[in-house]
Symmetry: C2
Subunit: 391 residues, 2 copies
Amino acid sequence: MARWFGSGNLSVMTVLPNTPRAVAPDVLRARLDRASTEASSRGVDALLITPSPDFAYLLGYRPPELERLTCLVVPAGGVPRLVAPRLEAPLARHQLGELAGDVEVIAWDETDDPYALVHGLLASDARRVGVQDQMWARFVLRLRAVLDPVELVVASPAMAALRRTKDADEVDRLRAAGAAADRAMAAITGERLSGRSEAEVSRRIKELLLEAGHQTADFAIVGSGPNSASPHHDPGERVIGEDDAIVLDIGGMLDGYASDTTRTAFVGDPPADFRALHEVLHEAQLAACAAVRPGVPAEEIDRAARAVITEAGYGEQFIHRTGHGIGMETHEEPYIVSGNADPLQVGEAFSVEPGIYVEGRWGARIEDIVVVTAEGGERLNRTDRRLYIVE
Amino acid sequence: MARWFGSGNLSVMTVLPNTPRAVAPDVLRARLDRASTEASSRGVDALLITPSPDFAYLLGYRPPELERLTCLVVPAGGVPRLVAPRLEAPLARHQLGELAGDVEVIAWDETDDPYALVHGLLASDARRVGVQDQMWARFVLRLRAVLDPVELVVASPAMAALRRTKDADEVDRLRAAGAAADRAMAAITGERLSGRSEAEVSRRIKELLLEAGHQTADFAIVGSGPNSASPHHDPGERVIGEDDAIVLDIGGMLDGYASDTTRTAFVGDPPADFRALHEVLHEAQLAACAAVRPGVPAEEIDRAARAVITEAGYGEQFIHRTGHGIGMETHEEPYIVSGNADPLQVGEAFSVEPGIYVEGRWGARIEDIVVVTAEGGERLNRTDRRLYIVE
């Protein structure tokens, strides 16, 4: 039912229950209020939030994403209500806990029309409704038909306004997730990697992520040899060997917040040209991290990394943006990409991850999560950014 | 990045690499052809398929679901093309393998407009386009604006026509997944459950699912005592004790196909009224399974279960439909629900899972996966459907 994979790590039998730390009801109430205000200030009459990180941000839990409509209705300046299939109403009331007094649960039966139910909860003069960014097309198209002529827009401008700057508790959670990922990275770069398949090393990293305290190990990219030039490589049966570059990009969730860090390793003595490539990358990543401070346009961070890489002649091989925001999702706003002139704000958290990829041969990437502080940026990943020499 | 959680079970270090069995390129080619034909016969000029089970069904792999548009374009009667962000083009070509000759990969750069790219791949006289059912709202609304006045409809009628009847290889995979879930169910119902929290038992079930051969353990509902009356209960810190009813609803993925089975247990000697309730449920489930055969309307299976339960006076406590299709997704077509008059076809697979829930007190559910055969139905779950008495 739920896609979420709770746990199942090596040490699961010996450790204490490892469930995410809850968010206080007062914090959730304040978020619901702000969501309503942010919608209103954007001329959006209501937000329709289906199960997603936005839903979890507002209500403190995440129901399964299934074909039956579950939808939080947040009217601009009104009272939020939760439409849920009858069989999930007990789950909703249980999970809402104290908040159940603030958010009425409206249950629908298998043969009811939940879209009409949502329609009935909107103000009769509603003209514009924001739908959660990841809402399924099947729901979007049905709502569109039922709500016609109401205009549907994405809820993200309002929701991102809330979520992109993290409060102190959220930064704590990101910090803990970053530290956990660092422990896993330190462990894996200390192991012998040659003679093992990418898939084997990837599974080992997931174990290490869980052992380090993550509740879920979400990804462990291991791109070796020519595969290190494929940024989102899916680890396979290729066996790591001598003279392979290896890109290790790993992360999971801890107390509802994501980790994401990348380091590059090399089996044996790296040739001069790979050392040079990594040195340029290292400089570029340092320059981008150093550029972080409040008020700087997001694209300037991208430019800082790209300038170093382009200057050294690798511009064509840096085939992606410099970073993405991170929080309850691994990828969220703000995006560190050319064209995004939004000034950075205190509390924003994002990856700084330039890469250089020579197709068919090798690649490298260095990634840290950085939080914007009043003074500049705080790096949440602290492992050495050097090229790791492994066996 | 990817939400998919590969593995990380207790025995991960000692077992062989456990990656899903691939689908032959010829099978994928035939599916792509049929998708095009099914679209055409429904007056749909193209299907737009973002990463999802539909995508995996057609192309044999599933890229991460992220904010950058990845979209398979299947024109009615034309050649399929895959639009992908440049950084994932190597992944796409690698995963397509032999199929890369049939499906051209069109890469877009971070500052390109991928929606315009998709637009350019549609016939200039396209009027109606089917979008994958789970496509994110952010993509749907952008496509709608760019493709205007093209009408957007859901791709599911075409895709479900392909996916709802399983071929022999798919039934084999479902059978293997069912047998694996049965091993996990047999093991957990043989353990002492009292004195353990729901969350602890849930984690144990996930281990058992992985040990039994699943590649992922997706859910393990453990609803004890009054929580057994919450069909989608999220296992928590409640400690199981004497006189608790316990609903165990478990499943995962094996070689790309889902398992899903439910049994009910009781700690100690069940009172006569719970025994009676379970007996009625057992009869209802048997009656529904017995009603399965080609040509019978899907809703008749629901009616068969509901008649027994209503007759015994529990009608109001059976608060959900009788079942859902299963395949590459845990929930898919056909739905076994009142109002679905579609006649069952050979090769369809679905759950038969009536339940009776007495709020605040207890509940019970029995669930098997059944495949429609020429003669009737084949049950893929074979553990005893009795009430399990546990310590």
